[in-house]
């Protein structure tokens, strides 16, 4: 049956799709490299090639060199955070089968943020490692809570119930955060700048502790690509095809929680990346999660790098935090997506 393939046969068609995806992969990787270079080279003080080369080699003798030396960890942080958020968004959209889901809608970011703010307000928390653990704990608790509430009643954790529980939890956590913060003038400034979201202050010391969490989240998410493909067919069909629905969902969600928690701890909540990036990637490579997930990670990194660079350029000589830029860039793109694509009912 599958001997010589006629040009119009399904396999030939699939091969064409695969070539197109490889081509896009090449384009995206090149774009990522270019965005990294921009991120190192452009800023409130622009530097030349020689200075970039010197800074990368660790020289700090001229001002240009030290600027580069500061921008490199910042670039690394933007790549990691963008990739984590893009990937987490794609996974959450798959897990909840909800095209509008993102780390925000499942209450994960709000949970992480609330935990960090509570930690600052009540325990005088100021160290990054503490932020990290608290944020992941908060993200995990929020996810568990949302999942538990979402699975109450008939039919288990349906996408609609998950989304509703997530939205409600998000609002509750944000209100609590504000309520705790309002009377506390002493921490308000620190919380506010953290809440807007930024990669500007990134150092290797801040990045290193979150690497294990990001790595674990990445592995879990990428490993669930095939299960996510099955979950997209509905729980019944997925189970009929041999997926362990609850386990697959929990594993993927845990991966996304680790990614979001770690990212939120360092950069504060950054919105829209997790929502917009998977949609863009679906236009490029289709709905197969084995392609969609890596693409979402790469594209998320590109988006966050560009947003960060843009934030340095538009407000010269000062800078605009990356969280504000993603909101400005993301919102119109998001509206465009909703208008372009028929968003399926919940």
């Amino acid at each position: 049956m599958s001997g010589a393939l006629a040009p119009g046969s399904p396999q030939a068609g699939l091969r064409g799709v695969r070539h197109a995806r490889m081509a896009w992969l090449f384009v995206v990787i090149c774009a990522l490299a270019a965005a990294c270079l921009l991120s190192v080279g452009i800023g409130t003080r622009s530097v030349g090639w020689a200075e970039i080369a010197g800074g990368l080699r660790g020289h700090t003798d001229t001002l240009g060199h030290s600027v580069v030396a500061v921008r490199v960890p910042r670039t690394v942080m933007a790549v990691l955070a963008g990739a984590a958020l893009g990937l987490a968004g794609a996974v959450m959209q798959g897990v909840t089968r909800n095209p509008l889901a993102d780390p925000g809608i499942l209450g994960v970011n709000a949970g992480a943020a609330m935990a960090v703010v509570l930690g600052m307000a009540w325990f005088g928390m100021a160290r990054l490692e503490a932020f990290l653990w608290t944020a992941i704990l908060g993200a995990g608790l929020a996810a568990c809570f949302v999942y538990a509430v979402g699975s109450l009643g008939r039919g288990g954790a349906t996408p609609l119930k998950l989304a509703l529980a997530g939205a409600a939890t998000s609002i509750a956590a944000s209100s609590l955060t504000v309520a705790v913060m309002l009377p506390r003038n002493d921490i308000a400034g620190g919380v506010r700048s953290w809440q807007v979201g930024g990669v500007g202050g990134a150092t290797y010391d801040a990045i290193l502790p979150c690497l294990p969490f990001l790595a674990a989240g990445l592995m879990l998410c990428l490993a669930s690509a095939r299960s996510l493909n099955l979950l997209a067919l509905g729980d019944e069909a997925a189970a009929g095809l041999g997926a362990r629905v609850d386990r697959a969902r929990a594993g993927a969600a845990l991966g996304a929680v680790l990614l979001c928690g770690a990212t939120t701890a360092i950069c504060g909540p950054i919105g829209f990346v997790g929502l917009v990036v998977p949609h863009l990637c679906r236009l490029l490579v289709g709905v197969d999660h084995r392609w969609l997930l890596p693409f979402s990670a790469l594209t998320g990194a590109i988006l966050l790098l560009c947003a960060d660079v843009l934030g340095r350029v538009v407000a010269r000589p000062s800078e605009m935090d990356v969280g504000i830029v993603t909101a400005f860039v993301g919102a119109p793109v998001f509206i465009w997506i909703v208008r372009q694509r028929r968003v399926r009912d919940l």
């Binding site: 049956m1 399904p10 699939l14 019944e236 009929g240 041999g242 289709g286």
Partner: protein, 282 residues
């Protein structure tokens, strides 16, 4: 290969306090074609969900070849038993070829690659359901009948010994209904697949199934050959519908003709209940 035996023993299952299936025991003829019939909401889909382990029964068990399906690894079960749900969901924008390829999932290991056998199974399934020319179209752009055939193709690509289909002929025009049922018979004869389907058309069920199971209110009212099950009395009990059963001249199987309140000839009108042919009340 000996045909698999699938049995349900004393099943009690539901979604909440009140059970939908009440102490239901049945054995599906190995290597045969069975059709489950019954009124809306009598528990047909619930029975299929129990048989395919999607729903855990409160009491009783489902036994495949002498082993409780509870104890079988998920992937092993999915290689032996396939299910086409009543209302499957196609992800936005997925192509027909990609969807049908999902049927191969239980045959692939964690790391094993797509093989020629997978290619062949997908191509066979597309050809058998005449959906090969749709392979690159998006599923959500197809007509209801085309989509139904694509889902059947996915179930075929799974290449299981047992295939459970929940209303596989919904959305299909009469020609495609017959085509799908013929296809299932081909599958049954050619590969020895045990086919179990929920059908609403009693006449097609009686014609295509070797074994009919009439469900009423979560219990089996009758099970056996079409001649044993498709009788005026049982149809009356299961559907609350008065009918006439005659022999289908094209297949020799029984065939039912419903009696309604209108349009009945003198011989089939219920005196004192039905209006006269000209519409005057009884």
């Amino acid at each position: 290969m000996t045909a698999p035996t699938l049995q349900a023993l004393g099943l009690r299952a539901g979604y909440g306090a009140t059970p939908i299936l009440k102490d239901l025991t049945l054995a599906l003829p190995p290597g045969g074609i069975s059709a489950i019939v019954g009124a809306n909401a009598c528990g047909k889909s619930t029975l299929l969900r129990c048989l395919s382990r999607l729903l855990r029964p409160e009491r009783g068990q489902v036994v495949l070849d002498g082993r409780s399906v509870r104890d079988m690894p998920t992937r092993d079960l999915a290689r032996r038993l396939g299910l086409l749900p009543q209302a499957p969901i196609a992800p936005d924008g997925i192509t027909v070829a990609d969807l049908v390829s999902h049927g191969r999932h239980p045959h692939q290991g964690l790391l094993s690659r797509w093989t020629r056998a997978d290619d062949a199974a997908v191509a066979d399934a597309l050809a058998a359901t005449r959906t090969a020319e749709l392979a690159e179209r998006a599923v959500d752009e197809l007509s209801g009948g085309q989509r139904q055939r694509v889902w059947i193709a996915m179930a075929l690509a799974q290449e299981t010994d047992i295939l459970l289909l929940d209303e596989p002929t919904t959305f299909l025009d009469i020609a495609h209904q017959v085509e799908v049922l013929d296809l299932l018979v081909d599958l049954n004869r050619g590969r020895g697949t045990t086919v179990v389907m929920v059908l609403h058309d009693l006449n097609l069920a009686a014609r295509y199934a070797d074994h009919l199971i009439a469900l009423r209110d979560g219990q089996i009212r009758a099970a056996g050959t079409p001649a044993e099950v498709l009788t005026e009395e049982i149809v009356q009990q299961v559907f609350g519908l008065s009918c006439v059963v005659i022999e289908d001249p094209t297949s020799g199987r029984p065939m039912m003709l419903p009696r309604g309140r209108h349009r009945m000839t003198q011989a089939h009108r219920a005196p004192g209940r039905d209006p006269e042919p000209d519409g005057t009340p009884p």
